[in-house]
């Protein structure tokens, strides 16, 4: 038996992950050796520095051609590099907003930041995974870290309930995913996604039941992780019960990483089976998720819960982009808009590249908007009100424009961005996704998407109305300022507005870099 040799250069593509794991280990040790110091601000600073370093390293690898990593168990392509960058942005912003949140509750600990870093390391590895077992292990790394973070603060019943629900349903969905992966392995004899396409088409003719069952189970497992309807039941309770900065990381990072893995798996599976089946699967999921997510969010007066339902709706728009990856057919039906700056390749390749670009840009846009919105929620909530259930009530936002004009402006920007109104990054990202869908010929799905996002504007604007048009309620508590939260708000507001007006830089990257391994 010949065994491969690994050199140090083989580990270089994993550098962002290694940086994060080392940072997390330092944080764990700091709790042992440095915990006598009263202030633990350095821990947050270290976490942000680690996230920035990892994100910067990921950016430098973004323009390299796709390559296999560690003997094909992972891949390094622009897709995974950009995703690592996105989750690092999400981590940095969520960390900044968690400093005052934790300090108010006397809960600043190195473990909290270490677990955030571990979760993000898992996300980055998940985006790179190119083999089913590696993929499953990395899903577990990020899931277990987020389970623990969900029940990090255990005062009252909500966090325990949220942690327990998340753990049970997460474990269940992991098992479903694993079962599907085992069936795919049984059908093809390989767990490497790259090698799967050929055996998959052979297996499809000899034992179609096995292949279909495998695909549907893997799809259901991922649908749980990205909170697509009808697998979304856990989302509102878990998002509401978790500490708000953790909810921010969950809605941005976990979702982005799960989407990345889902796109990679089904992109490869789609080479072996009839893509029309995957198109149907994702179209149905996207339709249900967009419509149900928006309709369920409308009656919510609890802003944190509303944001949870809104994150379901946003998963729906992203699924439209995923569905656009699986279109086939004659070239005439593509490029109806004909406005894409992407060049080269057949119309089909272009439609796919457009869909990938849309998904990546949307994930970045959602990270800025959602993490920012959750940061505002976290500065307005008070611990004492959590048991009464009024900590996140819409009334909290009444008259915020008079008390804190800057916060109100930031929240308005996030809400407009989530609603997809120009000139925000949310508008640009929706435009890209729907453009890709139209170019791919998914007209019906695009119409549903536009209509449902118009319905969504109602509950986003309601928050803005409360902030700017309602009087300050009697006996409102003074709002504390904290430099870190302010910094997170300034950064994400700037990104939301500036990238909405001048999408150039990121679009430029994505035009060069919206390619996935094996495309």
């Amino acid at each position: 038996m010949t065994l491969p040799n690994l050199s140090l250069a083989d580990f270089l593509p994993l550098l962002p992950t290694i940086i994060m794991v080392v940072g997390a280990s330092i944080l764990l040790l700091s709790e042992v050796f440095l915990s006598t110091t009263a202030s633990r601000s350095y821990q947050a600073v270290l976490t942000v520095a680690t996230a920035v370093a990892a994100g910067a390293v990921a950016l430098t690898t973004m323009f390299e051609p796709p390559q296999e990593v560690m003997l094909g168990f992972g891949v390094l392509d622009p897709f995974s590099s950009f995703l690592t960058f996105v989750v690092c942005v999400g981590l940095a912003l969520a960390t900044l907003s968690s400093v005052s949140f934790l300090r108010k509750r006397g809960a600043e600990r190195g473990e909290f930041y270490a677990l955030m870093l571990f979760a993000t390391a898992g996300m980055s590895l998940l985006a790179m995974s190119n083999e089913l077992i590696t993929l499953f292990i990395n899903i577990e790394v990020l899931s277990i870290a987020t389970y623990a973070l969900t029940s990090y603060l255990r005062r009252g019943t909500r966090p325990s309930e949220a942690g327990f629900k998340y753990f049970i349903l997460g474990a269940f969905s992991s098992a479903v995913l694993l079962y599907g992966a085992a069936l795919l392995y049984g059908a093809t004899g390989t767990t490497h996604l790259t090698a799967m396409a050929g055996p998959l088409s052979t297996a499809l003719s000899s034992q179609p039941g096995l292949v279909y069952a495998g695909i549907i189970l893997v799809g259901a497992g991922f649908a749980f992780k990205v909170a697509a309807v009808p697998f979304h039941m856990w989302t509102p309770d878990v998002y509401e019960g978790a500490p708000t900065p953790v909810t921010a990381l969950m809605s941005a990072g976990v979702k982005a990483a799960a989407f990345a893995a889902m796109v990679r798996v089904f992109f490869m599976v789609g080479k072996g089976v009839d893509p029309a089946m995957l198109l149907t699967l994702f179209s149905v999921l996207a339709f249900l998720t967009m419509v149900a997510g928006n309709l369920l969010a409308i009656p919510q007066r609890n802003v944190k819960r509303m944001l949870a339902y809104s994150s379901i709706a946003h998963a729906g728009y992203l699924l439209v982009g995923v569905a656009a990856l699986f279109v086939t057919g004659p070239g005439e039906q593509f490029r109806l808009l004909g406005a894409s700056a992407l060049t080269g390749g057949t119309p089909l390749d272009l439609a796919r590249a457009e869909a990938l670009r849309g998904i990546l840009y949307y994930l970045l846009a959602y990270t800025f908007s959602a993490v920012g919105a959750f940061a505002i929620v976290s500065v307005l909530e008070r611990r004492e009100d959590e048991e009464k259930g009024t900590a996140w009530d819409l009334e909290r936002f009444s008259g915020l424009a008079q008390r804190k004009p800057g916060w109100a402006f930031a929240m308005a920007a996030f809400m407009l961005s989530l609603g997809g109104i120009p000139p925000t990054i949310g508008f640009m990202s929706k435009l890209l996704i729907f453009q890709a869908a139209v170019d791919a010929g998914l007209i019906g799905l695009t119409i549903v998407g536009v209509l449902s996002s118009a319905a969504g504007v109602y509950y986003y604007l309601r928050v803005v109305v409360y902030m700017f048009m309602r009087p300050v309620p009697e006996g409102a508590q003074a709002l504390e300022k904290s430099w870190s939260t302010e910094l997170a708000l300034v950064l994400s507001t700037a990104a939301v507005v500036i990238l909405g007006i001048i999408p150039g830089p990121i679009m430029g990257w994505l035009e060069q870099a919206s390619s996935i391994f094996g495309q």
Partner: protein, 168 residues
Amino acid sequence: MNIELILFGAFALLTLLSAGTVIFARSPINSAMALVSTFFFLAGIYVLLWAHTVAVMQVLVYAGAIMVLFLFVIMLLNLGESPTRGKPTVARIAGGAATVGLFAALAIILLKIPAAPATLSTDAQASFGTIATLGQVIFTQWLLPFEAVSLLLLVAMVGAVVVAKSRI
């Protein structure tokens, strides 16, 4: 009749006997101890299949770690002898019927498998499933998943301590 067949017969019979004891013993402690011996005899069958690593893991993980947890739970819950067997309810009858049905289905499938086993070269047998081979493969080809698993274990430990320690 060669020695392997004799050993297999002995292990299989003892596995079945201890598995039966697990189900029929009244005291939970006796059930748990019978489960330990089931795992041990099962490990013997794995060795006969040239799956040395699986056999060692079976003894270490199942017969060792997991059984200790079982016993802890039995002790903590202070479980005594179970009461006399209950009356047949609808659920019990349905459960029994489902079990019989499952075994019938398994028997039908097993009878369809051709009697002649696939011929394996002795070379593959000698190295396949041994700890040496597994170690070589894990630390070269499967290094990325292996390191990911070590990350997973670290995260699980930290997470368990964070969740279990006194309220923050």
